[in-house]
Every structure is written in structure tokens, then in C-alpha cells.
């Protein structure tokens, strides 16, 4: 089949469903919870119930478990057949709901980033036992951010259990999720290969939510500091293989990112689209026409800016779809996942902030959502790997360099 960059019709149901929730549930309460940081958005319980109903009807918008690698799917594919599957569906769903409100998107019950991690790394048995959890992701610690190999939280084997000790910060949905996926080292002397992920129930002896952060944006999403003190969990709660393979190294836990980075890119694309749509509405009301046929340089400066921003938006969108499409088709996509995250991350902050500039005190005011999107978008260029980390990954891949050579 030939090159085609339009989405298949079968994804229309996903788009429609996610958009209805974004427009009718998220948008009306978007400002409310921006102003009431740390309040639980009870309206989302309605949405969680909706999702349950949908997945039982076989029409769920993929959600976080859509990130599961297609390699594990049992259906053999015909030679040359193209898959538009779970990863694309997840990304589309993410774009639409983030268009509504990215903070709310991050706090949809049972759709946590930890769920994506479980989907990516868990064995089939584990997937069954952890199937119905709301899982947050706990990687970062007070002493490190981007350098994920510096994990100092320990998981000490003891009989049939592991005993966890350490402190995690920036745990998205950490106070609301039912479970937390924790990165911890089973043996610090073996370096990064010993870092494994563990599923820990939040209501569990030795698990304490210390505090919630006050933030620039995505204020409706709770960001927790969680302390583990002699937290004892069964050995089965280790995700993936317990073997420490020093040759394979970090691969196991890092492969999560190939699935989650296009999702975060999708969030940035969704927020950027919200801002661009609002700008088009405001410009058209002001009598400024955007003409795709006339050169941008011949048009009103604001129209020219719109076209420039829309070109970056379109590139970010297609980068994101490509990364998800590759994952769906079992093609290695680390490079493309990082490209999508880098491009969408910087495009998101550029567009939302330019829209504030162009709309002036109107957009800067809390009466519209424009200034909120600008604040919300900043985190999307930071979490799941900053702009700089993405560029490092892209550069190492393109230049064929090790992390020792290109630091």
C-alpha cells in the first residue's frame, strides 16, 4: 500500500469519544481546578465509569494499556501488512483529551503513566494480576532528575519479599493512584543493570505520601513526594525479569520511554492545537484572514505567525504519529520517539506563549484559558526526558556515539 498520512476511519470513534470528554467534561472545569490546586476533581469519577463501560463494550480509547508492545500480540501478520493499532490509538486519545485539559488528562483514574510502564514491561501473568490498577510512576529522586541510572532507592531481597527504602519526588498522580511503579536498585554494586521496577500499593505499610508540590501549571494533577521506609512487597511485584544482566543493562526499564515519549509529545500537540484554535478564532473576530495560498510574508504579521506556528504544529503532530505508527508495526522507534518529544515539546511552549503575546492582556487574563495553556505546556518539555535529554538521545543515535563519548 502507498504512502498515506491520514488516519484510518476506524480511529474516528476514538477521536470522537475522547473529544466529547475533552469538550464537555474537561473544558468546563479546566479553570476551576487550576484555581483549586490539590482538590480532587470529582467529575473525573464520571469519566472513569465511562471508560469502564467502554472497555467492557470493547470500545475503550486504548488508554494506558495501549502502550503494550505489539511484539507480544499473538496474531501473525501478513507480509507487508500495515498496523494502525494500540499505540496510535493511545496517542490520538492523548491528543484529544490534552486539547481539553492536559492536567486533567494526567489525572484520569486508571490511565496513569505507571499503567503504560506495566503494559510495556510486565509478564502476561503480572498483567493479569495488575490489570485493574491505577498506577503512578516514581523514578525521580531529590538527588537526580534526568540521570535515571543514579537511582538510590533500594530493593533488598529478603525471603519471598523485597524491602524498599528511599524517597521519590515528582510522582504524578502519586496521592490518587492505587499503585505506584517504583524504580529501585536490587544491588547498587551492579550499577544501572540492577535497576528494576516494582509495583507497590499506595495504601501499604511503609509507604507515605509526604507532601504535594505547588506548581506553575497542570495544577489539577497531583505531584507527590513519596517516602518508602522498610516497605515490604512480594517478589512477584517486580516487573519483568529479576535477573541482573549487566550486559543488557538498562534496557528493560528504559524501553518504557519508547512508548511514553510519543504520549507526552501527543499531550504537547493537543495543548498546542487548543491554543492555535483559540488564536484563529480571536484573529478572525479581529478581521484578520489567514490565507494559505498567499505567501506568509505578504500577510498580516499575526497571520504570518499563525502559519509559521501551524507549520511547526503539523510537523510535531506527524512526528508523533510516526513514532506511534512505528511502535504499532514493531519497528524500533527510540530515535523517532525522542524526535517527537523534542519537536512537540519545544513547539508546545513556543505556540502557547506566542498566543499569549498575540492576544495581549486578553490572553494573559484568567478569563480565557490561553495563559493556562502556556503554563501547562512547560512541563511537557521537561517530564519523560527534557528537551536536552531528547537531543542527546537523537544525537547519539544519529552520530553513532556511546553515552561515554557524547556526555
Amino acid at each position: 500500500m502507498s504512502i498515506n498520512l491520514e488516519l484510518p476511519k476506524k480511529l474516528n470513534a476514538t477521536i470522537d469519544q475522547a473529544h466529547q470528554a475533552a469538550a464537555e467534561i474537561f473544558r468546563p472545569i479546566s479553570r476551576k481546578y487550576d484555581l483549586r490546586e490539590h482538590d480532587y476533581p470529582v467529575e473525573l469519577d464520571t469519566l472513569a465509569s465511562l471508560y469502564d463501560g467502554l472497555s467492557e463494550a470493547g470500545q475503550a480509547g486504548a488508554g494506558a494499556d495501549g502502550g503494550r508492545s505489539q511484539k507480544k500480540s499473538d496474531k501473525p501478520r501478513a507480509e507487508g501488512a500495515v498496523v494502525n493499532g494500540g499505540n496510535m490509538q493511545s496517542v490520538i486519545n492523548t491528543m484529544e483529551t490534552s486539547w481539553g485539559d492536559v492536567g486533567l488528562m494526567l489525572t484520569i483514574p486508571y490511565q496513569g503513566l505507571g499503567n503504560a510502564a506495566i503494559a510495556a514491561v510486565a509478564t502476561d501473568d503480572q498483567l493479569k494480576s495488575f490489570g485493574k490498577v491505577w498506577a503512578a510512576m516514581a523514578i525521580t529522586e531529590p538527588s537526580f532528575g534526568s540521570d535515571s541510572a543514579a537511582v538510590s532507592t533500594t530493593a533488598t531481597p529478603d525471603g519471598d519479599d523485597y524491602v524498599l527504602n528511599g524517597e521519590k519526588i515528582f510522582v504524578t498522580a502519586g496521592s490518587r493512584a492505587t499503585h505506584i511503579v517504583v524504580w529501585a536498585s536490587v544491588d547498587k554494586s551492579l550499577g544501572r543493570a540492577a535497576i528494576k521496577s516494582f509495583v507497590v500499593p499506595r495504601e501499604h505499610p511503609g509507604v507515605e505520601v509526604v507532601r504535594l508540590e505547588h506548581k506553575l501549571g497542570i495544577r489539577v494533577s497531583d505531584t507527590a513526594v513519596i517516602r518508602f521506609e522498610n516497605c515490604r512487597i512480594p517478589k512477584d511485584n517486580l516487573l519483568g525479569s529479576p535477573e541482573v544482566d549487566t550486559k543488557k543493562g538498562f534496557g528493560g526499564v528504559m524501553q518504557t520511554f519508547d512508548n511514553t515519549r510519543p504520549m507526552v509529545a501527543g499531550m504537547a500537540v493537543g495543548v498546542a492545537r487548543a491554543a492555535l484554535e483559540e488564536l484563529r478564532r480571536i484573529l478572525e473576530e479581529a478581521g484578520i484572514e489567514i490565507d494559505y495560498d498567499r505567501p506568509a510574508a505578504d500577510q498580516h504579521a499575526a497571520a504570518a505567525e499563525f502559519i509559521r506556528m501551524e507549520s511547526d504544529f503539523e510537523a510535531a503532530y506527524l512526528h508523533t504519529m510516526r513514532a506511534a505508527w512505528m511502535a504499532d508495526n514493531s519497528e524500533p522507534n527510540s530515535l523517532e520517539a525522542s524526535m517527537s518529544k523534542a519537536k512537540a515539546g519545544r513547539t508546545g511552549t513556543d505556540i502557547t506563549n506566542k498566543v499569549v503575546e498575540l492576544t495581549g492582556t486578553l490572553g494573559y487574563s484568567e478569563r480565557l484559558l490561553v495563559e493556562k495553556w502556556a503554563r501547562d505546556s512547560k512541563i511537557l518539555d521537561i517530564f519523560e526526558g527534557t528537551q536536552q535529554i531528547q537531543n542527546l538521545i537523537i544525537a547519539r543515535r544519529v552520530l553513532n556515539k556511546s553515552s561515554a563519548e557524547l556526555k
Partner: protein, 461 residues
Amino acid sequence: MTSHTETRHSDPRDTSAVGKNPHPRNFIGTAMRVLTTVTGSEFADKYKIREPLNRIAYQGTKTGFQTLGAANRAFKAAQGGSGQAKRLTTSPKGFFNLNPDDEQQMIAETVREFSTEILRPAAYDADNAAEAPADLVKRSAELGITMINVPEDFDGAATERGVVTNALVAEAMAYGDMGLALPLLAPSGVATTLTNFGTDEQQRTYLPDFAGEDVPQSAVVIAEPKPLFDAFDLGTKATRVPSGYRLNGVKSFVPAAGSSELFIIGAQLDGRPALFIVESDTKGLIVEADPGMGVRAAGMGRLLLQDVAVPASALLGGAEGDAAFAAYRDVVRLSRLGWSALASGTAKAVLDYVIPYVNEREAFGEPISNRQAVAFMVANIATEVDSIRLVTLRGAARAEQGLSFAREAALARKLTIDKGLQIGLDGIQLLGGHGFTKEHPVERWYRDLRGAGIGEGVVVL
């Protein structure tokens, strides 16, 4: 599609622009809005009805979305009756897919081989001489890149529109050299334009030659030498005379202008642009050399049109008014995608050239690529090359399927202007002073990339 001579007068509805395609609320959305309002209210808290309400949501959607699915199907069937849906069913729609099919793959690989082995070694001298070697045009005819746009009825090889294939060809050509690619691709643009918009008579007159070994040098000419040039407001005018039309004005950016035998020229008729077929030996047509900053190997020239008289049958498509304008409009958009495809090829050449250079070049005792300041520039080039490419391909695929593509053409062009230029500049920067010399092709690629955001016409996909 091979005998397709009619043009679509009205634009297909824009189905992709951000902010132009509001998503309507459906009954589920309405229910969501009501439930959200109630669930979030203090009323629900007070009377402890939040839980029961959530259970209603659960049960409601279990069946609600199935009904929606069935309604969608019924809606689809009803759409078949309206004029627009009929058009949609004729356009092939499938899965999102970035892999070229076997034929596209083969053509692109063959052209890329030709462009790296034949064009690139010839590029330095051609750039200096500001013209393409004569034998190159002959050799490229053997590739068949023009005849793939000529319908089988005229001994060509086209069975369907190949906008994506043409984009891949342009990209692969420019990977070798953009300047040399232009005169080789220009006849293909003329063939495409005649195939899509020419009358039966025009096709029978000109197209058979484009399927043969001796393809006439020719070009679709849009650009004019003036600041803030707008392709939809031309300075070149066509006026009606008893025998047909008379053309007056100055056109620019005409590749191999001196050796061209045929032009399709944009001129303003009754306040709107249209296209006219003009043979190069028509009285009053003067060709002037006009070498520029880059794409010099193309042998760019100007056409001075002084009372150039053409018959009424020279109007492309044969009919004045909306049809003529629609053809012109699509040709301009397709050519903007063409220039973006060229930029994508040249930008990729820059990327592939700087990678070994920064890996081998040492400073302060190690390869300069070990430093983030250098490595991040390369990362950015790699990302933005793909940005140009992806948006160009989406536009080409939409055009091929009969969907609106003005937006994608504009966005691909904007990326070509902004990112294409930056890639050229960064390519030189990474080579330092050496990049500024003609020891390396990068300075030439930068000059070519500067031109790709300016060019109009010629590369009609």
C-alpha cells in the same frame, strides 16, 4: 484517471486546518456535560448521589456507544447520496503508512542512485558554469521520470495520479544536486500539468513527445522578479485579441531557459491568473540569462513577454473563468510541495555530509561531535529534515487522494523557508571555515536551500 481532462472548479472543503474543523458535540457529549455539571455540584455531595450517577454513566455508555457505531454506519450510507460523499468514495483511503509501495521504492532508489553517481559529481562545474551539461538531460530521459506522468494513451506509463511518487523523485534528485535536478524535473512538471488540466487537443498535441526518448526541455513558469511576489496577483497580463490572447510581462526562475522549447506561463486574465501554453519560438518572447545565488546549474533565465500572441487554444484547459483559475491554483500548490520535496532531499544531503565530518574532525583532543554544542545542531538538523519531509508527504498524499491540500502546501513551504535555510546555515557552521570554501558542497547546498523557499512553479508534482 488517464483521460481525465476536466478540472475541479471549487476547492475541496478544507478538512485539515487547525481551528477550521470544529468537532461537533454528540448526544454522549451532551450527557457528559450534564453529568459533569451535576457530579461536580455541591448538590450531588449533599444528597450523596454521586456514586449512583457514576453507575448510570457506566451502564449508559455500554450501550450508548454501540448505538453510535451503528448510527455512524447508517450516516455513511446516507452520505453516498450527496455530491460530496460521491467524491470521497472515489478517493482511496487506507491506513496511515509511511512505507512507499514497491514501485515507489524502486523508482526512488533508481533516481537516488542516478543523482548521487551522476548529478553530484557534475554539480561543482555546473554551478560554476551556471548551466547543466547537455548530455545529462538525455541520460535522465532514460530514467523515465517524465513518462511516468504521461497517460498510457499517449504512450506514457501513468495509470493513476502519482503525486507522492513525484515527491519521492524530486527528493531523490535533489539529494544529488538541486540545481541539476530542476531542468531534469521541469518537463515532468509540464507533463503533469498537461495530464491534469490540458484539453484533449492540448494533450494530443504535446504529451506524446514527453513519453519519448527526446523529452522537450520545458517548464511551468509562475515566478516574477518583484519583491513580495504573490503568485495569485501576477504582473504579467493576458489580454483578449481576435485571434486569441496577447501576453505582456516578465517571468523569472525558468530553468534551462535558453534551451527550452515549451513553456506553460501564468498570466493575469480578467483579474485572476490562468495558464497559457507558449512555444518558445513565438514572436515577442525573449529569453534572458538570470543566474542567481544558487540553483545555478539549472541555468535560470527570465522570459520577457512583449505582445506575445497566442491562439485561443493556448489557454490551458480551454475554458476561461473558474476552470482556468482552479487549474492555476492547483498547479501553484503542487509546485510548492515540489520545492519542499527538493528541500527535503538537499537537507538530507547536508545531514549525511556533516555526520562523518564532525565525527572525524578533532579539536581539543577529541572529535568535535563529542560536544553537545555540535551534537545538538546535528540532532536538530535530523529532526527538522524529517519535519519538512513528513509535512510534504502528507500534502502530496492528500493531493493524490483528491483531498484539500492548500494548507499542507503552505505549511511545507513555511518549513522549507525556515528550517530548510537553518539546515543550510548550520551545515556550513559545523564545517567552520572549511564550510565557507568550495572544497565542500555544503555552501552550495545552503545557497540552493535559500532558493527552495522562494521558487514557484517548475516542480509540479
